[in-house]
Symmetry: C2
Subunit: 367 residues, 2 copies
């Protein structure tokens, strides 16, 4: 039996995702008894509103989690690494939007429509997948369930908002300078990757780098799409069952990721487009927008502010039977981050899983 | 033996491609004796400059081609359909940037670095391929020549400029309105396709439609990438030798197309990335920009105004031996249109092919 009211902390409450976590929590089915808004020392003292009530943002410290039942975290990997073990130690269940714990075998990586079952074995931390991965598995899971999936090749069109509010601000500042024919007056400092050496203009441009480069020539974002997809769909981050490869590109859009996906099904009975539409339309949280004759297809502009994932342009590869192309769009800050996290918290509450199993804290203890 | 001087007409001289054809012709090796700038009645009377000399734009009529040796055309398919047969009848060799004649078996479809040999059998009209196709075959032809090519899966990131200057203007107007939080004050009228029913905002958005939809769910742009690639590389627009599939997306960039390409080679000796780099770097007109450690990769911003095609992010598909991903960028208005057309004209002059073979006019005669 669940609690009557839950005491919730939001870590990173002032960011692009954090502010949306507050909104999504306001609109959720979770009975919130107390809310604690946490951020860095720099943001402490700011006032935000929750259900019409003003809340002062506090600096996040280990003690901030005393008496807390649920934590929603989106304050960067290093803060999650440092603070979430402290929260677990204090008995709080954490939903973490950073990449820090995603590949940890003791941490479920969950998109509720796809693998809610993995919540059952959590040890106090549940990871929210990468935004690009979430919307892709949302569109492909109904295909996998019904027809099997053998191979995925994805090219992403990712909005600046995936890199935070400062990246959106940078894109808009650069865009205004470009329109004023003053681009040289703006010096990019955030994109493509805040901590990397070089920064480039995204306005009216394309940057084929999201996150840092790995030694094999892939970016870490591409690496995430490959391994997170396998962990979510197959429960094994290195499973060879579905081959996945990815190219991730930042585009001059503020909010809303697009993805062009080519995939191959296992089933010898190659599904028709109508059959694929039917499986997708029946999948919770997935909306089929696919009517070429009426020029209807998903767009970031129409997906912004929505919790659903939108799929369209579904069509067969004309030369490879059993292979298909499609186009996916979702609000990367909602289904890709804040909503998926709050949705996980909703399921934890509904399934009475807001409790830290004994011995969990030791799993994440830092030396 | 070629002529000492060539009399050249540019059809569609006032457009985004036409103005660049003038610039590229000024910088070309072609000895231009006379230049005639042609456009619609609406643009007639405007003054443009060629090599510092003012030229008044004339309305294009059949008689405009009297005494002309070479025509560069970029005034839309219907104008090419109507006027180029008249030019051929009058002895002028035409390089056509529209799609109207591209699939005609009597018309070579040429990217000089790839299939200059096809110029030899022209009948007065040579077609310039679609912009997206040109930069893709530029990057893949050195791979095909050395290792064979069995399959190509491409997702494009196409700039507004591919739809003409009015589309660039629309994108900029929409972008300013978006930055002013006034998007609802602008009504899109050009993109995604000027003549289609619905128009959508491209600013800070993505439109997965370029050109009209075919009955099979593909856009005509995607159809072009499939069949033009086969005609250019293999001499047969329906060849099954290389499987090609495409997803074409318009992005909020003014000039410079990006392409994410996955491809598979035939060779059992899978090439290394260093070997692929070597083949590409040796290919004329292709520049390898590929140093992840230094964050170097092609971008539209740095490709704008350049004649070359830029390729980077070359890396193996980690789960499919013999398959690779890469990223291509070119100035769609130069290598994708004006420069490739002028380059074809340069080769025609160099190879002494600026003459219409007897009987050619009948091939294109309209009823």
């Amino acid at each position: 039996m669940g609690k009557e009211k839950y005491r919730v902390a939001i870590l990173g409450a002032t960011g692009a995702v954090g502010t949306r976590m507050i909104q999504q929590l306001e609109q959720s089915t979770i009975p919130v008894g107390e809310i604690r808004l946490l951020a860095s020392a720099r943001s402490a003292g700011k006032t935000l509103s929750f259900n019409g009530k003003s809340i002062v943002v506090e600096e996040a410290r280990p003690e901030s989690f005393d008496g807390i039942d649920l934590v929603l975290a989106s304050a960067g990997g290093s803060n999650s690494a440092r603070l979430l073990p402290e929260a677990v130690k204090r008995g709080a269940v954490c939903v973490d939007n950073t990449s820090y714990f995603r590949m940890n075998d003791q941490v479920p990586l969950v998109v509720p429509e796809v693998n809610e079952k993995d919540l059952a074995w959590h040890h106090g931390i549940i990871a929210n997948p990468n935004c690009s991965t979430i919307q892709m598995v949302m569109a492909l899971e109904p295909v996998r369930q019904k027809y099997g999936l053998t191979r995925v090749i994805v090219s992403t069109y990712q909005a600046a908002g995936g890199a935070g509010q400062s990246a959106i601000d940078e894109l808009e500042t650069e865009s205004q300078a470009y329109l004023n024919r003053d681009s040289e007056k703006v010096t990019p400092a955030i994109l493509p990757v805040k901590g990397d050496t070089h920064h480039y203009q995204l306005a009216f441009n394309l940057l084929p780098q999201i996150d840092v480069f790995e030694a094999d020539g892939y970016t870490h974002e591409e690496w995430k799409m490959i391994h997170e997809t396998k962990k979510i769909m197959l429960g094994d981050k290195n499973s060879p069952e579905i081959k996945v490869t990815a190219t991730c590109v930042r585009v001059p859009v503020s909010v809303g990721h697009g993805e062009s996906v080519w995939f191959e099904v296992a089933d010898q009975q190659k599904p028709t487009i109508a059959q694929l539409h039917q499986s997708m339309a029946a999948f919770p949280g997935l909306v089929v927008v696919d009517d070429p004759a009426s020029q209807l297809y998903p767009q970031p502009k129409t997906a912004e502010g929505r919790r659903e994932t939108f799929v369209g342009r579904v069509r067969p590869d004309l030369e490879t039977p059993g292979a298909y192309n499609l186009w996916i769009v979702a609000d990367n800050l909602l289904k890709g981050a804040a909503w998926n996290s709050v949705q996980i918290a909703e399921r934890l509450v509904a399934d009475d899983l807001v409790r830290v199993p004994e011995g969990s804290a030791a799993l994440f203890a830092t030396e």
